[in-house]
């Protein structure tokens, strides 16, 4: 019984509300029309008005001045001010409108910030080693330590370590995009100079030295030669160094073994270990030093777990980074992006096999043909497209939680460093209303 009554009441109430709403709408429209009459301007587009029972109340005074009392046709004249009777009508309508509208008041609601529970933590990994740690670096970089997904800005949580950006250097001349050649010029001829320009002029925070000359199908440079190249770069710059192999699994084992043997205490980073390599032939030697490794598992979270599990046999977890690979925009970025999102979430949910900072080979962005080919002039010069492609690919990875970026173009580094500054500032805009300035601004058309 009482339930029925409630229902009835509820439906009565809602139909009353609806009526009130409808009335307020009509009054609102009337007020608008009256308001326009007041200004003496009425422009209606595509509107049919049908009226029945229109009652016109005309003051006597006006009637007296008219020759025929019934036909009210005042001579046309320029309206400078609304007639008193209309002004009165407007006042009434406006008063009614206010009354009618009162039924919709702002319903205040508080936005409660997301509550998240994560139990896992990404390990902290240190790149480079200072004098006191047995190395020769002036600066080291610490990455990782995350306990929440990236850029969630939950109150009370400060991400422990911001991402870092390193510059790519190759140990021999290779085909590089024009946009890169133009910026570095002659410095490309030797790795030391290239590294020096990166750090001193373009603010690279680490150097990624790629020893591609060791590739058996390229120059097959000896491990001794590789070591000499690492040494030359270690001498000229004092930031951490990431030492990359040629990608040949057999040769890389030999080269990496030699490099860590000669520089056991520099906190070098080995780029990279993968499942095609004979891990037991290289990991034990790495383990004896303070070298960090990057485990490479292209776009596969499952294989990432597999290689990490193997590498744990020899190397402590806090000396392992993870690279899930990335393709430039249009060439598989979404696979790497999603793999990173999945891996990071898994890590925070407690999967220890995935609790490692991410490395990103951002230079892969240049593999996108749109980054380097000459296109129809509408698409702009490749000198802009290239670095932009690299920058945007980095940003996508950044949002997925990437920690270290190996980059090819100084402009990308410059932009992403200011972006980092913005993203790591307190999320409290001083003039939020400025967000709407674009609405009415005159913006140049190019």
């Amino acid at each position: 019984m009482s339930e029925d009554k409630n229902k009835k009441n509820a439906s009565e109430r809602s139909s009353k509300d609806e009526d009130a709403l409808r009335v307020s709408e009509i009054l609102g429209i009337l007020a608008k029309i009256a308001g326009s009459l007041e200004k003496g301007i009425v422009e209606l587009y595509n509107i049919d008005i049908s009226l029945d029972e229109v009652e016109l109340k005309v003051p006597l005074q006006t009637l007296e001045t008219l020759p025929i009392p019934i036909a009210i046709t005042p001579p046309p004249k320029v309206v400078t001010e609304a007639k008193p009777e209309i002004q009165a009508g407007v006042a009434v309508a406006k008063a009614v409108e206010v009354v009618g509208r009162k039924i919709v008041e702002l319903m205040s609601l508080a936005f409660e910030e997301p509550m998240m529970k994560f139990t896992g933590k990404v390990v902290e990994v240190k790149l480079g080693a200072t004098k006191s740690e047995g190395g020769t670096r002036d600066k080291v970089i610490v990455l990782g330590g995350h306990e929440l997904p990236p850029y969630y800005y939950l109150t009370g949580y400060k991400p422990p370590h911001p991402p870092a950006f390193g510059g790519d250097v190759f140990d021999m001349k290779i085909g590089l995009p024009r946009a890169v050649r133009v910026v570095f010029g002659d410095a490309l001829d030797n790795p030391e100079e290239w590294a020096r320009v990166w750090v001193n002029k373009f603010g690279a925070e680490a150097i990624d030295l790629h020893l591609i000359s060791t590739d058996p199908t390229i120059k097959d440079a000896s491990p001794e030669e590789a070591v000499r190249n690492v040494d030359r770069v270690l001498q000229v710059i004092k930031v951490p160094i990431i030492v990359g192999g040629s990608g040949n699994p057999e040769k890389d084992v030999v080269v990496f073994n030699k490099v860590v043997e000669v520089f056991p205490s520099e906190g070098l980073v080995i780029n990279s270990l993968n499942l095609d390599m004979d891990l037991e032939k290289v990991c034990p030697n790495i383990a004896k030093t303070n070298t960090v490794v990057i485990d490479f598992s292209p776009m596969s979270v499952e294989k990432a777990e597999e290689i990490n599990r193997k590498v744990y046999t020899w190397i402590p977890r806090d000396r392992i980074m993870l690279d899930l690979n990335i393709g430039g925009i249009g060439y598989g970025t979404e696979y790497g992006f999603t793999a990173m999102e999945r891996a990071r979430l898994g890590a925070l949910l407690g999967n220890e096999l995935l609790q490692h900072p991410f490395n990103v080979g951002a230079a892969n962005a240049w593999g996108a043909r749109e980054a380097w080919i000459t296109m129809d002039p509408y698409w702009g010069p490749k000198e802009i497209r290239g670095p932009l492609w690299e920058t945007l690919t980095c940003i996508i990875c950044l949002l997925a939680g990437a920690d270290y970026f190996m980059m090819l173009h100084p402009l990308s580094v410059k932009v992403i460093k200011s972006l980092r500054e913005y993203l790591f500032s307190e999320p409290k805009p001083s003039n939020p209303e400025k967000a709407l300035n674009w609405l009415s601004a005159k913006i140049p058309v190019v």
């Binding site: 972006l419 307190e426 009415s440 601004a441």
Partner: protein, 480 residues
């Protein structure tokens, strides 16, 4: 707790259960499975939509499959655009549904010629990528003059010369009203925007014109959700779009990223209805907040667009019409919105790379879009003229398709025959991917062509061809 799809059986109970097959599935249960996987839409079942007896079930089904982020429809007489309709926060949890719509602005201080030129560029924007045409979606008309007549005039010009749905941008209700007045009934524009100062007037306009309403509350999420509640419950306006404000620079960009993330998190994980609406971002604000030359502004507009698209924006308002600003956006959008459960495929057949002759090499690859793109890119880079056979591997990469027996001699033969490649080239030599070495015998048997196993990675192709594709080697090959 994130959104979970209903059980297929619950959906099946509401379907006609006649197994009529009009949806293209063998039976209603199969259709139910597709529905819960979001691989089919209810509208693909004609009986349930058309027949009176199922009316109640249809309502229930729609409720069961309602996304946490409302799907909102914008319209022009020629085009329908869906925004929102999202189910998940992370792409890997299911998939993202309606790609972020990109709007380009036109303002009411522009002269007619400028407007027409801009419309032309917006409409003509197109980039062909893995067999798709990537395009722009909307025009946002801004009131710079704040003059209703001028705004109405501009809206009129745009609607007469463009096929795209519209966003009408002003905080001044009479300006918006003037714009709405010149649009025909077939339009369903987005009004941008109701704020804490004008929401009553804007809500009335949205109601009267049945338009979609954006709510903007820069820097104040409490006000944003209060307005969403008030407008949806007080006025019965359900089609809303939310803007927490697009800010750049220190303290601004971090806020914007936080706000977009919090809003979508609360919608997708807490299923909170007051934030369950599409989100709109304004990379155009780079033009009013970034100091520097025009290239800097464009560069930051591109950065903002990519960030906001990645972090959940369903609509973006932009100003640059520069190809280099927009190209990475439409390409990233394409990737982000592909179904991560399904590999993307390109049409199979024969492609000409450069200007191949009857003695150019013939290469074989799969129709997995990523493999295909990379191979084509590598071939173009190396500037060798080649024929490329793209087999129908059902969207699988080379190694996977070999393992799944989709990379077979019959598939290669099928393409050679249908493209009449045997009439176009004189030699009978195929170069297959290194990863397909296992099936070289099968391909030789099926096609009768000599098979050479190529490099493991397509980046090695040019080097490989230099060695292998010489007249002496060819003679050797064709003789044996």
């Amino acid at each position: 707790m994130p959104w979970r799809p209903p059980a297929p059986l619950d959906v099946y109970q509401l379907l006609p259960k006649t197994n009529c097959g009009k949806c293209g599935e063998p039976n209603c249960m199969a259709f139910a499975v597709k529905l819960v996987n979001l691989e089919a839409k209810i509208e693909q079942c004609p009986p349930i939509v058309e027949e009176e007896t199922y009316r109640e079930n249809l309502v229930k089904l729609r409720e069961l499959l309602l996304p946490p982020v409302r799907e909102v429809i914008l319209r022009s007489p020629q085009k329908v655009l869906k925004i929102g309709g999202e189910y998940v926060l992370y792409r890997h949890e299911l998939r993202y549904m309606n790609p972020t719509a990109i709007a380009i602005d036109i303002d009411d201080s522009m002269d007619r010629d400028t407007i027409l030129k801009r419309i032309g560029m917006i409409e003509k924007f197109e980039y062909e990528y893995v067999g798709q045409k990537l395009k722009l979606d909307l025009i946002a008309i801004r009131s710079v003059t704040n003059d209703p007549k001028q705004f109405a005039k501009t809206v009129q010009i745009v609607s007469e010369n463009s096929s795209l749905p519209l966003i009408l941008c002003s905080l001044n209700p009479p300006v918006i009203e003037a714009g709405l007045n010149v649009l025909t009934q077939n339009y369903r524009p987005l009004i941008y925007a109701a704020t804490k100062d004008n929401w009553r007037e804007m809500a009335e306009l949205a109601k009267r014109f049945e338009a979609v309403l954006a709510i903007a509350s820069p820097g104040d999420l409490n006000m944003l959700v209060s307005l969403a509640k008030t407008v949806s419950e007080g006025y019965g306006i359900e089609d809303l779009v939310l803007d927490p404000g697009t800010l750049v620079g220190s303290n601004g960009l971090s806020y914007t990223l936080k706000a977009f993330t919090w809003l979508r998190y609360k919608a997708a994980y807490d299923l909170w209805k007051y934030v369950g609406y599409p989100l709109i971002g304004a990379p155009i604000s780079a033009w009013t907040s970034i100091e520097g030359d025009i290239t800097d502004k464009m560069w930051w507009e591109a950065v903002l667009a990519t960030m906001l698209m990645t972090r959940y924006a369903d609509v973006l308002i932009m100003h640059s019409l520069e190809g280099w600003v927009l190209l990475p956006q439409v390409m990233w959008r394409f990737g982000l919105y592909t179904d991560p459960r399904k590999p993307v495929a390109v049409p199979h057949g024969v492609r000409e790379i450069g200007k191949p002759t009857d003695m150019s090499p013939v290469l074989v690859t799969t129709n997995y879009a990523l493999t295909y793109s990379i191979v084509v890119s590598d071939l173009e880079k190396s500037r060798v003229n080649t024929w490329l056979i793209v087999i129908d591997s059902e969207g699988l990469a080379v190694d996977v398709s070999v393992a799944a027996k989709k990379f077979t001699g019959d598939k290669v033969l099928e393409v050679i025959k249908s493209a009449k490649l045997d009439e176009k080239v004189k030699h009978r030599v195929l170069i297959i991917p290194g990863k397909a070495a296992r099936v070289s015998g099968d391909i030789e048997d099926a096609t009768g062509w000599k098979v050479i196993v190529g490099p493991m990675d397509s980046s090695e192709i040019s080097k490989f061809l230099e060695k292998i594709w010489t007249s002496e080697k060819l003679k050797e090959l064709t003789q044996t």
